[in-house]
Symmetry: C2
Subunit: 202 residues, 2 copies
């Protein structure tokens, strides 16, 4: 017995996910041929259908993997940062930075929602949002952020803005410059969450 059975199975699963992730991230979900990228992993569609049911199922698996990685990266940055509020801001900007990577942008923000629907309804891919939500809750309890808003709702809105932010930077012909503008505007929006001596609009 050279290799245990379970190991081999897990290995092919991993190979399929890796191959699909690459294909989805570069070619795009709709344009990625299952025959092609399964072959690039030394397998056939037979394995794919056996493990994931269909193309969508494989996409879900890819998304779950990426989501886990993103959450890990956010939590990493989370540790440092002097104040809770700045911590939260860093969390958001880290999110934007990650969204700059073509693979993440394509799979998590474009093809994913188009194929699987509202990300908020995804079963196993909301680690980042959960983290942001809990931090927002704490900030509310500490009186830093206005208490009138629902944390998860706010997180989702910020998330939407982040995704736009990333796209704007990514598609710019001068990413450096636009990055500055985008992050400035983004932080400005975030300040709306802060509790403060209320100024009135006129």
């Amino acid at each position: 017995m050279h290799k245990p059975r379970k190991e081999m199975i897990a290995e092919t699963r991993a190979k399929l996910i890796a191959a699909a992730r690459h294909a989805f991230g570069t070619t795009g979900y709709a344009e990625a041929s299952m025959d092609d990228f399964t072959a690039s992993a030394g397998l056939t569609r037979g394995a794919l259908y056996h493990h994931f049911g269909d193309k969508k199922g494989l996409l879900q698996a890819v998304i779950a993997e990426i989501d886990g990685e993103m959450a890990a990266r956010v939590n990493e940055v989370a540790a440092r940062a002097p104040t809770r509020w700045l911590h939260f801001v860093d969390e958001c900007t880290t999110y934007i930075e990650m969204a700059l990577e073509p693979e993440i942008q394509r799979i998590m923000f474009r093809d994913g929602p188009a194929v699987l629907g509202d990300p908020a309804q995804w079963p196993n891919a909301n680690a980042c949002i959960a983290s942001m939500t809990s931090h927002l809750t704490t900030l509310q309890e500490e009186g830093v952020v206005v208490s009138s808003l629902d944390p998860e709702t706010a997180s989702r809105l910020i998330n939407g803005a982040s995704s736009q932010a990333a796209q704007r930077i990514a598609n710019s012909n001068d990413p450096e410059a636009t990055s500055k503008k985008v992050v400035t505007a983004f932080k400005q929006l975030l300040e709306g969450l802060l509790r403060r001596p209320g100024p009135q609009p006129n």
Copy 2:
């Protein structure tokens, strides 16, 4: 000569767009069969390819039409509202309301971006953003909004948040309640744009 030629042509174009719009809005772009919805318009794919080149071209035409309608509706609401700032806020919330309609959500915010890429790069579908941008610019000149941010960038971010807002409401099992929460959070974010005696985060 019962009907002028040009009229007939425009008519088939309109029929194709209408049929596609309905199919894309309900079935979804990828799942909508060109044979099916051209047949439902009493035509064939021949007409489609003649007028729009391919499926994507037809989607572009549909999007251009919807964008025009959305801009018109926003401008309608634009007229009233006591102050410029509230006008701007109304503009945003109207945008959210429109994004609640399944057809708009599906075509403009999900399938559209997935198939055609970043909406900011769409040639003929940015009327709403343009309107918001110009209003933001005016508000800056009047000193209502902080001057440090780029108007179009801010518009895009808000746009992203709006789309998330709409999705959250649309997918809720209690749309009334979540609508309140979402709009509250959204307006809170918008306040971040207001110029005010600066409070410091701690």
